[in-house]
Symmetry: C2
Subunit: 187 residues, 2 copies
DNA sequence: ACCTTATCTAAGCATCTGCTTAGTTTACTA
DNA sequence: TAGTAAACTAAGCAGATGCTTAGATAAGGT
């Protein structure tokens, strides 16, 4: 009946994600996407509708990757030590291939703040909520803190992780590791 | 002999700074600067050379403002409590006028990472070094920790502050205050 | 083999980007 | 009051921006 797509959408989104991750949303042009994804602008628009559409799919792909890290934490027998390991895993995840790209989610918050479109906001909240849920679970493991305390600890870890993500763009590994050490010293 | 400028450079830079602070470097166009600064593009280029030139001057103006907060801390009799107050002062400083603009320095790091031009990098390092110096001084106040401990604490505070700055774009005051509480709980 | 339908290429759209330049206006000196 | 030098206005530059569209190409059912 009709012609077949010459590309797999998941594969080209992976490449788009890398580009947005490195450059941010605004600094990534459709021409750059075209080159990196290896498909024509027509195909980009017919598959994803708009530049923002490509970005949202990239965010979804990104959250899938972060989900794997969260899965590992959730499956771990450790409590707080497991969360600490998540921190280490996370900075390793962001620094693959010698480029200081930070975290796509944190980068996006920094770039768009609360002016981000609803679909983007939704994607960000989704990953944050899932992560916080597992953090809470791990913080409760083998102790009986009240909900308020745990809540405050999750809040602390969340903002600490954001700091780590931005800072990873300019600081060295030692400084990041030291920060993680300090963060978990009294937790 | 010649005509007078109809604007004061410091005054128009103040407005440029506000714009960069809200929107970031890339998302701020020369046309937007023209409107906000209230002067023609010719004047912008004759006074500051380029868009980057305007940005660098904006950074300098920003660091002057942050310097006032650091001055207050340096003048304070308090040690660690003084640093905690600096954290509160800082989030208040970023949130003037109900816009969640975060911190211009942290925003710039998030946007450009280590790809920032030398002049921009220099300006960022200048303010960070000055702040860290005062932090160290305050951490040493009334205690005899070894240099390594203090160094690690400054590193911790620096990254925590970055986290606070990004997070201030999407979190509420209670969450930010709770984070500050947690940060200084065991320091 | 032919027709339908989706996918491809590549050129094009209006608008915006950072920056420049020709020509006018202003202020001060001589 | 005439001359000079800087600062103004506003039009314009080439190239980039996000997105669209006309026409060629290919895959399958009949």
């Amino acid at each position: 009946m009709a012609r077949k797509k010459e590309y797999v959408e998941d594969e080209v989104i992976e490449k788009a994600m890398e580009l947005f991750w490195r450059n941010g949303y605004e600094s990534t042009s459709v021409r750059m996407l075209e080159k990196e994804m290896g498909i024509n602008q027509f195909s980009i628009y017919s598959s994803f509708g708009s530049k923002e559409g490509v970005f949202i799919q990239s965010l979804k792909r990104y959250t899938q990757k972060v989900d794997e890290l969260i899965d590992k934490l959730a499956a771990s027998a450790e409590g707080i030590t497991g969360i600490k390991q998540y921190f280490y895993d996370f900075i390793q995840f962001t620094q693959k291939s010698n480029i200081n790209r930070g975290c796509l989610i944190v980068n996006t918050v920094a770039e768009m703040g609360n002016q981000a479109g609803a679909a983007i906001m939704a994607e960000i909240q989704k990953i944050v909520e899932r992560r916080d849920k597992v953090f809470i679970q791990k913080l409760n493991q083998g102790s009986n803190k009240d909900a308020e305390t745990v809540n405050k600890q999750v809040n602390f870890l969340s903002i600490a992780l954001a700091g780590l993500a931005v800072s990873s763009k300019v600081l060295n590994k030692q400084q990041l590791d030291d920060f993680i050490d300090s963060t978990f010293e009294y937790l």
